[in-house]
Symmetry: C2
Subunit: 128 residues, 2 copies
DNA sequence: CTAAACCTTGACGCTCACGTCAAGGCAACC
DNA sequence: GGTTGCCTTGACGTGAGCGTCAAGGTTTAG
């Protein structure tokens, strides 16, 4: 299948697929006229990337999962590097939940017209 | 006080202060040589902006609070527009908490080597 | 023959809140 | 007078993940 069909079947755009390729996440063999040619396996890779992005992972984060699938494993998260990303992300999410809970308190306090109780300093921390 | 001192006292940079001015959040009278001159009130404004940014608000979000302080109110969140922003942000934070909790489940499931239970579709929702 | 619908690479645009020069003016001290 | 340390405006850079042209080649339908 060519890039347009892959994009349609994955519910994304050709631009995104070419971008994944530029990032080394996707490869494609070329037909004689230079067109990219993909197989079902590539659709699988794209879906993996999409589902991981949907939970807030960066493309960089998806790299180990894609590599895992390409290495022949049936699921992208069965390799050590992937699981390490899972663990790191879980820690980030936990920190984010904690932080957002504090922010929530701040907002509630503000709405309740109380002292502007300050949110605990978290030194340039970014929530997903 | 000039811009350098204000920046130092607020724990920020002159670049940030000039940026706030370019966005209409901060004003300054000029001395004869063109230097910006600030008062204690401006320090107050900057601190308001900072504490709001610290809880994940955009500069755009801080606008009503700054306007409220400039209107002479003793706290920036005592005006209707400010309180509306609080309410909106609270809703966003609540949605984000819900979403992150689902993401957490996804990650835990992945680590537990279960089926890649999909996170409920939330159609391009961004957490702070 | 021509138009439509694919495909190619390359390059700039977008958001946000500034960071980082660049080139120069002003003020104070040695 | 030279140096240091402020200040000014202006303009480009940053990161993430693409969107959006631009300019052109390929294939198929009419």
């Amino acid at each position: 299948m060519r890039i347009g069909e892959l994009a349609k079947r994955a519910g994304t755009t050709t631009r995104a697929l070419r971008f994944y390729e530029s990032q080394g996440l996707l490869e494609a063999r070329r037909t004689s006229n230079g067109y990219r040619e993909y197989g079902e396996h590539d659709l699988r890779l794209v879906r993996e990337i999409q589902s991981l992005q949907a939970v807030g992972m960066s493309l960089e984060d998806t790299r180990p999962f894609v590599a895992c699938l390409r290495a022949g494993h049936e699921s992208g998260d069965s390799c050590p590097d992937s699981r390490e990303v899972y663990r790191r992300k879980l820690a980030e999410v936990d920190a984010c939940l904690e932080r957002l809970t504090a922010v929530r308190e701040f907002l509630l306090a503000g709405l309740a017209f109380q002292d502007p109780c300050l949110v605990p300093e978290s030194e340039e921390f970014q929530c997903s």
